[in-house]
């Protein structure tokens, strides 16, 4: 770690081995984190998924830890294990070792809103020293992030608390299993507004595989197929 890295709000180095996923709660961060982990794993990368959500105990990526470990994706959450009933602000320091292991891509699934972002602060210096991308989820169907001002309010709050810069946007606008191309384009258009306003590129478009196939050519951002991993078939 060089001493430069201790400055706050430093722009990230040109690497994205660490992907930090942040956003308003309920915008699809955990589903995206799990789906992105699956995508990167299929591309042959070694993956460590850090579930930093200590705000809400329901629908966290650690719920899928057994499944992900079967895919050879390392899941790190509480130092007391992945049990969903543990409502404790306890994150295992094990995640740090993957920050500094160049063989690994790290995905950090951060809790929602400013409150959830607090858990990220303890890792800020390490993340800054290694370099990162911070992805802000855009879900146009969530009432608080359905317009530019709502999105900016959340983005600024998260940047303020984390001391890190959002470097990319992720379109996570959906209507669950009935998501259409029009829904994704609605989210994309909103993300584009934010992108132009803040000069942040759209990094990912996340949607059901069938919807991704139907999207028009020329849209900015890499496609992430959403596996609906956190929704049981009856949900």
């Amino acid at each position: 770690m060089d001493c430069e890295s201790f400055g706050a709000k430093k722009m990230p180095k040109n690497t994205s081995r660490i992907s930090v996923i942040v956003g308003h709660y309920g915008t699809g961060k955990s589903e995206m984190a799990v789906s992105l982990a699956m995508k990167k794993r299929k591309e042959g990368r070694k993956i460590a998924l850090g579930d930093l959500d200590i705000v809400n105990v329901y629908f966290r990526s650690r719920e899928k830890a057994d499944f992900l470990e079967e895919q050879d994706i390392r899941v790190v959450s509480s130092l007391l294990g992945h049990r969903s009933s543990l409502d404790l602000p306890a994150i295992s320091s094990e995640i740090r070792q993957y920050f500094f292991n160049p063989d690994y891509d790290v995905i950090l699934d951060v809790g929602g809103d400013k409150a959830g972002t607090n858990a990220l602060v303890t890792f800020r210096e390490d993340i800054l020293s290694v370099g990162y991308e911070m992805l802000f989820t855009v879900n146009a169907y969530r009432p608080q992030t359905s317009d530019l001002s709502g999105l900016q309010l959340h983005l600024e709050g998260i940047e303020y608390v984390s001391g890190l810069k959002v470097t990319g946007l992720a379109v996570t606008t959906h209507q669950l299993r009935s998501t259409t191309v029009a829904d994704v384009i609605k989210g994309y258009s909103l993300a584009k507004e934010l992108s132009l306003k803040r000069e942040i590129p759209i990094r990912y478009i996340c949607a059901l595989p069938g919807v991704l196939q139907e999207l028009p050519e020329g849209m900015e951002g890499e496609q992430v197929p959403i596996g609906m991993y956190l929704r049981e078939e009856w949900m």
Partner: protein
């Protein structure tokens, strides 16, 4: 209004504000705290009052006060918190005041767990407080249905001057689904001429009370309440039945569990089985009428609950020994899987073949 994505807890808050709720008193508890958060942020903007009370007991007594003034008022909690409120709920029912109480159930008994459960069925339908009283209890199974029933709950509470309980669970509170806010408001509700809003010196004071010093007076009051409950029993039973015609087995399940049961049913019917689903929407009054629709071909009922088996007693009462009743469930915060329900159904059918 276009569909938006909301968590169950948030959606209840929004629906309550739209239904004219202007007072919310509560105390946070997982898995329903987002209802308080939502109300704290949005109720003041609608001209309402949100107050985080010092305890659940304080909150329910604040509800008692606001309801006595004729306001639309709500409180919410989860299982052990609702247990704490029981004394106040009994007072409110005794004083015949309208209010809406939300219970996002979690595993019990005691402090239990923070994961979803349906083990407050008895607490909801039998009365956790003292005396001969009943709550009107709705058990929605989706966020949309929960939103629609918030409006219905406020209207029915006013119509009957009775507390209404919305019985959800951790999954319904935390789950995100697209919702639309377009519920129809009731237009023929009685005037709240009983409310303590000041006499202006023009009438005798209204009194809100559940204490009777004369036993015969109290008995008279109990008879009056019983007559009211009989009307609710006659007019307010609600349920949904799916594929019950000619079904060899009908699953009886409510709320989240009904969704799991529905998945199991669909999977088995694809394999050529004839399984139906009867989903009580009112837990009290229990939808007895629904069971009259059941086919002679139906020899088995399977009750599925996120508890050790509580609603099964009502199914036994309604069934009057006509069909064989089995049970499958998980408790303590464990959600039953579709395959667990499917396996149980196949086991029952194979046993009887």
């Amino acid at each position: 209004m276009a569909k938006v994505l909301m968590k169950g807890n948030e959606a209840i808050g929004e629906a309550a504000i739209l239904a004219g709720c202007r007072f919310f008193f509560g105390y946070p508890i997982t898995p329903q705290s987002e209802l308080l958060e939502y109300m704290s942020l949005h109720l003041p903007k609608a001209g309402g009052t949100f107050l985080q009370a010092e305890s659940e007991v304080a909150a329910i007594n604040m509800v008692y006060g606001a309801a006595g003034c004729g306001a639309r008022v709500m409180t919410g909690s989860s299982s052990p918190g609702i247990a704490l409120k029981q004394e106040g709920i009994s007072y409110i029912a005794g004083a015949e005041l309208p209010c809406v109480i939300v219970n996002m159930m979690r595993g019990g008994p005691g402090l239990g767990s923070i994961q979803p459960a349906q083990s407050d069925y008895n607490q909801s339908t039998r009365g956790g407080g003292d005396g001969d009283y009943k709550l009107l209890v709705y058990a929605p199974a989706s966020i949309q249905e929960m939103v629609d029933y918030v409006q219905i709950s406020f209207d029915k509470a006013d119509q009957y001057r009775n507390p209404v309980l919305i019985a959800g669970d951790g999954v319904l509170g935390q789950m995100m689904e697209p919702v639309e806010f377009s519920s129809q408001k009731a237009t023929d509700l009685p005037a709240k001429d009983w409310a303590t809003t000041g006499t202006d010196g023009k009438r005798a004071p209204n009194v809100i009370n559940s204490l009777y010093l004369d036993a015969e007076e109290l008995e008279k009051h109990n008879i009056h309440l019983s007559e009211k409950y009989a009307k609710m029993k006659e007019n307010e039973q609600r349920w949904e039945s799916v594929g019950i015609e000619g079904a060899e087995l009908v699953i009886v399940a409510y709320g989240t569990t009904a969704r799991i049961a529905r998945s199991a049913m669909d999977n088995l019917n694809k394999q050529g089985r004839k399984i139906g689903l009867l989903r009580p929407i009112t837990l009290w009054p229990y939808p007895e009428k629904a069971f009259e629709e059941l086919d002679d071909a139906t020899k088995h009922l399977l009750v599925v609950e996120m508890s050790m088996g509580q609603m099964i007693d009502d199914v036994r009462i309604v069934n009057e020994g006509k069909r064989k009743i089995d049970f499958v469930g998980r408790s303590g915060g464990v959600i039953p899987s579709t395959s667990l329900v499917e396996e149980k159904i196949l086991e029952i059918l194979e046993r009887s073949e």
